[in-house]
């Protein structure tokens, strides 16, 4: 409670002039603190501090009218196809699929030593360039805008791998995000999410049965 204390005791009274009482004002802030604490608790519980992160993706157009010339041709040696399957498993093959050899489809994992090392190895030129660029940015030799521009150039360079991500129906959303994440970590600028075809499903099944399917179909 606020209280007004008059202290007129002690001290010499001024000669002449009007008598002025000295008033010291003490306001008790305890209820104010109580209320503030309540409000803070409310804000802490009912709001979220961090805004969610987001990932921007560009999907290929679904247009059927795209002509041959518009399609981007990819060198066979540069193409890597990731096949995301159920149970957090990820397969990959390079270049064109080889339906005869079940070992052409390799099993990998989402761990750092899995698909990431494979992609980093294939993209080693771009990765080293980007790292150099990052160093330059840290030393304040280039600005943020320059960095973004140069990094984009390196990422989309001619000799960088092109990754095609195909997810099976059994894969989860997390798998897809993890795969897209690897693209970012490995500095791959050219990647696309595509629909899985029966051919890939065949490859997985063929691998699981250790090539039994391809033998049957060959006969």
């Amino acid at each position: 409670m606020a209280e007004l204390q008059t202290n007129d005791g002690g001290g010499k009274k001024k000669k002449g002039g009007s008598k002025q009482k000295k008033i010291s004002v003490h306001v008790d802030f305890t209820p104010m603190v109580d209320m503030n604490m309540l409000l803070i608790t409310f804000f802490m519980l009912c709001t979220s501090l961090s805004k969610p992160q987001t990932m921007e993706i560009n999907m290929p157009s679904n247009d059927k009218k795209i002509t041959e010339e518009d399609q981007v041709k990819v060198k066979e040696s540069q193409a890597v196809t990731l096949v995301l399957s159920g149970g957090d498993s990820i397969f990959y093959y390079t270049g064109l699929p080889n339906y005869k050899d079940f070992n052409s489809l390799k099993l990998s994992s989402y761990r750092a030593d899995g698909i990431r090392s494979v992609l980093l190895k294939r993209n080693v030129a771009a990765v080293t360039q980007i790292n150099e660029l990052k160093k330059k940015k840290l030393d304040l030799k280039i600005s943020q805008e320059q960095f973004t521009k140069l990094a984009a150039e390196i990422k989309n360079g001619k000799n960088t791998p092109v990754v095609i991500i195909k997810a099976a129906d059994r894969a989860t959303y997390k798998n897809l995000i993890d795969a897209l994440d690897e693209m970012q970590i490995c500095n791959i600028g050219r990647y696309v999410i595509d629909k899985i075809t029966p051919a890939e499903l065949f490859l997985i099944k063929n691998r699981e049965s250790k090539g039994a399917l391809s033998q049957n179909s060959a006969i």
């Binding site: 803070i40 804000f43 921007e56 995301l84 995000i177």
Partner: protein, 201 residues
Amino acid sequence: MSKVKLARKSTLIDMTAMSDVTVLLLTFFMLTSTFVKKEPVQVTTPGSVSEIKIPDTNILQILIDPTGKVFMSLDKQKDMIETLSKVGDELGVSFTEEEIRKFKIQKTFGVPIKSMKQYLALPAEKQDAILKDYGIPTDSLDNQFKTWVKAARATNQELRIAIKADSNTPYKVIKDVMTSLQDLRENRYNLITSLKVESVK
């Protein structure tokens, strides 16, 4: 013997400094935080290293729960009203003033158009309870999701589409949503993730 005389001290503590601190903290929380939007289903977004923040306005959020139900939310009430009337026109349902008023205060919507009238007639508490059992149909026969997105896009050209899905959502559902978006030539959109720290070795 002389007694030790204990001085009687006042127990009043000066709370001014404490109050200063709490007001500061309060200001900090009020300025930095955003209110948690009420969502009909609990969704855990997967972690990602991406650090782009999502803008505050002009967002069409598509919420996908682990079982594949799709919900949507728009951040402007004006857009909500226009979108509803456009969808209503296209699917042949007209709404009364009262229904529109009820619809525009919804945080998240996701009811098949057939059940929309019935749903809007319910009191707010009941709406919250049953919304999670609905979801916008996305299958190819009756793709109302497409209609909604198309209407929202026609209403606001600057709309950005953000997909927020649970980590355990099967890809099949995501694929349906993505294909529908592709059919509408919405080829750029955002995927909402949470932060994950990871370094390249």
